[in-house]
């Protein structure tokens, strides 16, 4: 961003080079705030934490209400008393979420590095708050802002829509008129705010240069600077012939899980949102640790799934060890010259596998709990012996 501002001062478009890839609104914002950069990033982190706190507080109320409704409707099996969540245990969850975000070493690192990812996190957190509070207008605006900055929050449109539909008690049937009406309304709000923001950026710098620099850059991955993601080494070692094909495959991979997850998790849009944010932060073209901090902040919300998690110990060890090894192997490759890029790449692979398995573990635990809720905790086979659950 500092480079972009310096280029602007020299009278050159910041997007004429290949160094600056942020949106014009960020330039505009930092034009005034560049002196207080550290303070700005601390404030954005605090804002994110506050937004998450308020959001989860509201969400807990919704969860409790829904649980009560389902108990009254007798949807739950008789022996699941220990799985039912009580207000007592849910009391401290919002605080835990806020603390998880603020005290996460990844958040601290990204604040010290003054990465603009923190601003993106704040916008996504406000989007979640607006969605949970039920305000479609604000939610659309914040989602448009988040999509405008990095392209991937587009996929969060689906969970937000599902949540708002649930809140309005509109059933999700493809033939239902009110469903389509509400969907169109929300989509229109979202698209209009996106168009307004893009036109505003055009008028800020008087050119459309920012579109290939920001979005073309995210989609075509030209810069291969090593990061914690999977893409850089892949495209550094790719045969030229297949480069375009694999770029398309990897981009589709991010957007691809939205529809199946929406179908499976239509009753649980917040968990869908969590999984979607995690998928974005693992598979986006230039991931940073700030993105990981955002979805890890949600883990206390699902702390009641702990008994169903299968590999949590191994996965947390993997993630912690990899986080420590990242800077070590980076230093060995770049500065000491005694390791080569393969070492760092291996840690990238392991770290991402750890994250993927963490998310799928939580997903498994969530589905398993849902099954137990509806079918009872102590399952017996036809002959009365204790049964095992498998996925078939």
């Amino acid at each position: 961003v500092v480079e972009g501002l310096a280029l602007l001062d020299l009278g050159v478009s910041p997007y004429s080079g290949a160094v600056f890839h942020e949106t014009p609104l960020i330039i505009y914002l930092f034009h005034f705030l560049i002196e207080y950069a550290e303070l700005v990033f601390m404030i954005t982190d605090v804002l994110t934490a506050v937004a998450l706190y308020l959001a989860i507080q509201d969400f807990n109320k919704v969860v409790f209400k829904k649980q009560k409704l389902l108990i009254e409707l007798d949807k739950y099996a008789p022996d699941v008393a220990e799985l039912i969540r009580t207000p007592m245990e849910m009391h401290y969850i919002p605080l835990k979420v806020a603390l998880f975000y603020l005290l996460n070493p990844y958040t601290v690192m990204s604040c010290v590095a003054k990465s603009t990812c923190a601003i993106n996190n704040t916008v996504v957190a406000f989007f979640i708050l607006a969605t949970i509070k039920g305000s479609a207008f604000l939610s659309a605006i914040f989602l448009a802002l988040a999509t405008y900055q990095t392209l991937y929050p587009l996929t969060l449109f689906a969970p937000a829509l599902l949540y708002l539909l649930q809140r309005q008690f509109i059933p999700i049937k493809l033939k239902s008129k009110s469903f389509w009406l509400y969907t169109m309304q929300y989509a229109a709000l979202y698209l209009c705010s996106l168009v307004v923001i893009i036109c505003l950026s055009f008028f800020l710098l008087n050119s459309w240069d920012f579109i290939p620099s920001v979005y073309g850059f995210i989609l075509s991955v030209p810069d291969l600077t090593p990061n914690i993601g999977l893409f850089w080494y892949f495209f550094a070692e790719m045969f030229e012939h297949f480069s375009l094909f694999f770029v398309c495959v990897f981009q589709i991979n991010v957007f691809f899980y939205t529809i199946p997850l929406a179908i499976k998790l239509k009753e649980h849009p917040m968990f869908f949102m969590f999984v979607q944010i995690a998928i974005i932060s693992i598979f986006k073209s230039y991931p940073t640790v700030g993105d990981i901090a955002l979805y890890m902040a949600f883990l206390p919300v699902w702390s009641h799934l702990y008994r169903f998690l299968r590999n949590i110990f191994i996965l947390s060890c993997v993630l912690i060890v990899c986080s420590f090894l990242f800077p070590v192997l980076w230093h060995l490759w770049i500065y000491a010259g005694s390791a080569n890029s393969n070492f760092y790449y291996a840690i990238t692979l392991t770290f991402n596998i750890g994250q993927i398995l963490l998310i799928s573990d939580y997903f498994y635990a969530f589905l398993r709990r849902e099954y137990y809720l509806t079918h009872g905790l102590h399952l017996t086979r036809q002959d009365g012996t204790e049964a095992m659950l498998v996925l078939k």
């Binding site: 892949f234 070692e237 770049i334 095992m388």
Partner: protein, 453 residues
Amino acid sequence: SNLWYLFSRSVDKAWKELSNILSGIFCASLNFIDSTNTVTPTASFKPLGLANGTDHHLLRYAVLPREVVCTENLTPWKKLLPCGSKAGLAVLLKAERLFHSSYHSQAVHIRPVCRDASCLAVSWELRQTLTVVFDTFASGQGKKDWSLFKMFSRTLTDACPLASQSKVYVDISPKNKEKELLEVTPPPTSVHEAIVQGDKRTYAVYDLLSPLLFNTSRSLNVQLKWQRPQESSELPTPVLHAQRYVSGYGLQTGEISTLIYNTHPYRAFPVLLLETVPWYLRLYVHTLTIITKGKENKPSYIHYQPAQDRRRPHLLEMLIQLPANSITKITIQFERALLKWTEYTPDPNHGFYVGSSVLSALVPSIIAMKDVDVEQSPLFTSLFPSSDGSSYFVRLYTEPLLVNLPTPDFSMPYNVICLTCTVVAVCYGSFYNLLTRTFHVEEPSRGGLAKRL
């Protein structure tokens, strides 16, 4: 090697054609000139001949720092001379002696000039220059004496019949007003005094076309002997000289520093610096600092065109005022990019070259040149041009730089593709399982092992 040209129309296609044609003529790899090493300078490289308007958009400058000069470039260069290397001064230019030197550079300049004083017609002037530095002190057993035979292992026998002038100039300027310190044999046809680069110099001239020269012997071997053993005297430092180097450690960042020295005792003058840096060293212009005598020096003109990945290099042009008797340090930081594995040269750990930066300046002369001198010594005014007598034009090239870039492992493309796709498949697989399958109570298996199989 570098190439620059001012076009009159339709530049890009003509540039490609020009570089390819010149590459063929000079057997130099100029055909590697493409948009990744061509820039359009705005202020440097003003043409020296007649030119109708100087729209800088029609000017192109390219530098190929990896190319070196060798015999295959010398031969076509010699072929451009009217007599080739068969007669005249060019008989001295034999490759095995020329490349046995400390420095070698050859250039071809073409410009339009007036055919006569009334300037009704324009002709093209072709000027070829060859600069060679022989270190006779190191190879001559500690004596600074030299002769044509020692340097070129040949002597001059006659002048080229097509030449209108064929002269050898030997600089015999006395230092510190001491005369008779050196002796030149055979005696020169004339002695000529000229003011060159702000300094008064005396030249012994051997005119090969004059019949007196070859009277006594068939061959001419110019020799220079020093009368007294030389105390180690330093060469006079030029008024403007520069150095460039890369600093920093590790393969992530670095800093390019340029030091410009102005040794003129009392005059300050501006210098125009042109830097072309390849795109894979990402310059950060907000780290550009110019420090003179401990204080910051702001350039009066700055033009910066950032690079685009794989399309064009960085271009930085600055007009900097150099105070008298000072050293100016210009630093800019950069970040090294990781390239795709096919973009590395066959020896990637050798490093990548960064072309020289160009300093153009009108250096004020210590001794002013008078107009009458200009007419009498056309050679010197074309070699060291100056529009008025008080300053002369100098174009300096700094050293090229060599930087290392981080390299991926080149033996790994297939492995990397497999491993990354495995990770993506792990995600896809687990999500597919969780999305398409539902929980069921396990049915007890009936029958024994045999039935299960």
